[in-house]
Every structure is written in C-alpha cells, then in structure tokens.
C-alpha cells in the first residue's frame, strides 16, 4: 500500500503540490490533469526522487524520507517519459541487467530476471540488439523491462503511449494490462482519455497542485471534463447516445446492444 498524507512541495518558491492525500494498492490508477498541474512532481514523490516539503509518503510501511531512491527502487518502479533518457549499454541484455546489478544480485539471479523481464514485455530474442536501434514501442517496452527487472510491487508510467503509433501503443497497453493482472499496482500518467477509459479502475485528477477528484472511472467520466481542459472519449459519447450508458470498450458496447448492430447484423 502506498500512503500519501497531505504532501506539499515547493520548487524555488513556487508551491507545485498543495496538500495531496492519496492511497493506492494493486490497482490501475490514472493520474490526469493539464500540463503543469503537478502530475510528474507528484509521481516523483512515490519513489523518493523528491521528498515532500511537508506531509509524508509511505510505501509498504517505509517512509520515503528515511530511504534512498535506490532502496525504494525495489518497491516502486518509475518508467520515465522518454525511454532514451535511460539507455546507455551496448545491448538490450546489459541494459536490463543494469538495475538488478545495482541491487547486488548474483549472476544467475540477474540472468533469470533479465530473461523474465524481457519475456514479460514481449522482447525475447532482442538480447543482442542495441537499445537505440529499436522502434518507439520497443524502446518503451524495453524501458518497462528495465524497471520490471527490479521486481517492484508498484509501477509508475509517465505518458507511456505518447508519440507512439497505434500498433506500438497497443503493444505497450497490452504489457500494462498483463502487469496489472500479475498483481502490480500501476500509476498511469496520461493525457489520453481513451486510454484512461480503457485501462483505469480509478482516476485522480490534479489541478494546480490540488486533488480535485479521486474516484472510480465511471464517476470520473460523469464530471464536466471540459472545465479541466479534458475531452470525453468518443466511445462514451456514442454509447450514451445509443442509450447503452457507461462502457469501457467497443466490445462492451456491442454486448450491451445485444450483439446486434445496424440492420440487425450480428457483431462479434
């Protein structure tokens, strides 16, 4: 359990976080809000990269102020927005091994973790490739593998699908779904409302460093999102117009409509 109690944070005189409370277990929570609302700043508190000016952050009982980022990296993995900011090894295998090496694990254990992490993100067979030579989606998945190899309980992803084409982002989304079903708690920072609708169980909305909403997705999408500079997904609009109410995917919408589409054609 991650417990955040009334944290404030100030960057040279500017208060960027203004009293946020938050709890999270093994769920997928989407963190949304406009540019500059404090999402990244908040997330950096969860693995100790930033320490609150006041208030406290506890991860599975450990107070982040009393532990280094390296110690906390076993509990909370942070996948940065730009995967290239972490690559420096000559091949994928060594890149993924870097984290476990820092934990001081044995050679065998390191090798086992690398194989496991690469499998988890569908990058088996890429061991000898140069990280920089991969495609956008593969780089993002490699970045996730690098963090996964630390075996953290919680994983933070900062805009993991931004800038990826449909197929690449699909592969990343699939990976996230798989990690969640294996029991990881996931904090997903994103501007993509379609992604929120599809993946998140809960949503936290920040505005100017304050939490303005924290609750189930369904409730989130009943908010007047325009006021926060956010758009409602088209799928929801469509489904509501069809009288099907809240759905999270096209498949669900079809089921609600009784598997019958226009002209009574039966849809999968």
């Amino acid at each position: 359990m991650i417990r955040v109690k009334n944290i404030h944070f100030t960057y040279n005189d500017r208060e960027v976080l203004r009293g946020i409370d938050f709890r999270m277990g093994n769920e997928i929570v989407a963190l949304v809000g406009q540019n500059g609302s404090g999402k990244t700043t908040f997330a950096k508190h969860l693995n100790g990269l930033l320490k609150p000016t006041s208030g406290s952050v506890e991860v599975d009982g450990l107070d982040t102020r009393e532990h280094t980022v390296a110690e906390l990296s076993r509990l909370v993995g942070y996948v940065f927005q730009n995967p290239e900011h972490m690559f420096f090894e000559e091949n994928v295998f060594r890149e993924v091994a870097f984290g476990p090496k820092n934990l001081g694990l044995s050679e065998d254990e390191i090798e086992a973790r690398v194989r496991w992490a690469l499998k988890a993100v569908n990058l088996e067979g890429y061991e000898e490739r140069t990280p920089y030579s991969l495609s956008g989606g593969e780089k993002q998945r490699l970045a996730i593998a690098c963090v996964l190899a630390m075996k953290p309980r919680y994983i933070i992803l900062d805009e993991p699908t931004t800038g990826l084409d449909a197929r690449n982002s699909e592969s990343v989304i699939e990976t996230i779904g798989r990690l969640h079903s294996e029991g990881h708690g996931i904090l997903l920072i994103t501007h993509d409302m379609e992604l929120v609708l599809r993946m998140a169980e809960r949503v936290m909305l920040l505005k100017e460093g304050r939490k303005v909403f924290d609750g189930p997705v369904e409730e989130f999408f009943s908010l007047e999102l325009g006021a926060y500079g956010l758009d409602r997904p088209e799928l929801l609009e469509a489904s509501e117009r069809l009288g099907a109410g809240f759905v999270r995917s096209v498949g669900e919408l079809m089921k609600k409509l009784g598997g019958e589409g226009v002209d009574g054609a039966v849809l999968p």
Partner: protein, 253 residues
C-alpha cells in the same frame, strides 16, 4: 524552459551589447588580477549591487543562479587547507579561488540576464566575430539551462534503477557517470541535429553576406559607459601592478 534572460527596463538592458561584452570580459580579467579575498569579496558584492541597481536583477535572483555552484565552493574551501600550509593561509586561498569562480559566474550571468539572444549574437558579430560563431556561442549559452535540466532528468531515471553515484571510489564513480553521460550525449546530439536541419531549412549559410533585421548603434551614453569601464579596468591594473595591492604570494620564496 529555464532562461537566463530577464526582460526588464534597466540601464544595463539598454546598454549596447558590445559595451556589455567588453565590460564582462574586462571584469573577468580584473578578478584574475587579484587573489586577496580582502579585494575579491568586496568586488563580488559590488558586481552584485550593480546587477541589482543598474540591471534590476534582484540579489535573490542572482543568488538563485549561483546556488548550483555551492558544492564546488564548499569543496574548494575545504580542500585548500588540506594541501596548503600554514592552514590558515590555505583557508584564505580557498576563499579567494571560490570568490573568483563566483564572480566569474556572476558576470557571465549578468550579461546573459540583461541581453537578449538576438542582441548577444549581434554584439559578437559586430565586434568582428564571424556570424556562424556568434550564433554558435549564443545557442550554446541558451542550451546550458536545458542541458542542466536534462542531466537532472537522466540522473533521476538512473536512480530509479538503483544507480547511486555516492558509492564507491573515484574510478567506480567515474565509470558510473557513463550511465548519465551517454544518454546526455545522445540527446544533445539529437537536439543539435534537429537544430541544424531547422537552420538549413531557413537558408542559414546560403549567402556569404547576411542581412540583420535589427541594427545597433552606439549612443553617447554607450560611449560614456565604455570609457568608464575601460577607465576602471586601467585603475585596477594600476592598483595591482603600480601599487602592488591585492596579491598574496602562494608559493613562499
């Protein structure tokens, strides 16, 4: 993005960029003349006050920009007494080197804070520098803050993978820095490449002669300021070599 330039209406802002570039250069030369903290410390405060009153850059702002140098200052002051005897003199030299460093940074910062990018290039070019160099210098200066932030992000990313610089001896630490230096290099090269495409696509370098949209002309006030700066520098030279002030011998004879 963090930027050095602060758009304000002040005497220093209005001064011709050439005068400011010459002034900054002479100022840096002047602090290199002295090594006595009794001279260097007041000199630092004089420049701080010049920035605050003539440049309208508050002392607090100036301090914020100098803050990243604090670790170097502390190390300098701590190391000198260890390698130099008598120790008290060591402390003195540590202080004097730190003051030079701080004043150097302060002067550069004041130039950048009171001169826009366009004026800075123009100033360098009008002083006889080929405009490619003028542009290179000013773009590099502009990217320092960006680079600084990028380095911070990369370090954060590596720390999240259990990376710690603080651990180990000098050689292991140096090796650990590759985890930051390589991504930093790759990202900077990418930026540089994008920049060169952007410049080329706007026909930079297509014609040997170049038209400047803005022209600058020295006013009477600029000449007065220039004369004053040169006068002060000559005075500093005289104080040091004519009167023998402000210098302590480091190597005992």
């Amino acid at each position: 993005m963090v930027q050095f330039y602060r758009e304000r209406d002040s005497l220093l802002h209005r001064l011709d960029p050439r005068v400011k570039i010459i002034g900054t250069t002479l100022g840096i030369a002047a602090i290199m003349l002295y090594n006595d903290p009794v001279v260097l410390i007041p000199l630092f405060f004089v420049f701080l006050l010049i920035g605050a009153f003539l440049g309208k850059i508050s002392i607090r702002e100036q301090m914020t920009l100098l803050k990243p140098l604090l670790p170097i200052v502390i190390i300098t002051i701590a190391v000198w007494p260890l390698i130099y005897k008598p120790r008290l003199m060591g402390v003195l030299f540590g202080v004097s080197f730190s003051m030079r460093l701080l004043t150097f940074a302060l002067l550069t910062f004041l130039l950048l804070a009171t001169t826009s990018q366009a004026d800075l290039i123009l100033g360098f070019v009008k002083l006889g520098m080929p405009h490619e160099y003028g542009l290179t210098i000013s773009i590099s200066l502009r990217y320092i803050p960006t680079l600084y932030r990028l380095a911070g992000t990369i370090m954060d990313a590596q720390k999240s993978r259990g990376w710690e610089v603080e651990k180990g001896n000098f050689i292991t630490r140096a090796r650990k820095m590759t985890a930051v230096l390589i991504p930093l290099l790759v990202s900077s090269l990418k930026t540089a490449h994008e920049l060169s495409i952007a410049l080329e696509s706007r026909s930079f370098g297509a014609s040997p002669r170049r038209t400047f949209i803005r022209e600058i002309r020295m006013t009477k006030g600029d000449y007065v300021a220039l004369a004053l700066t040169i006068g002060l520098f000559l005075l500093a030279l005289y104080a040091r070599y004519g009167l023998g002030l402000g210098h302590i011998s480091i190597y005992p004879r």
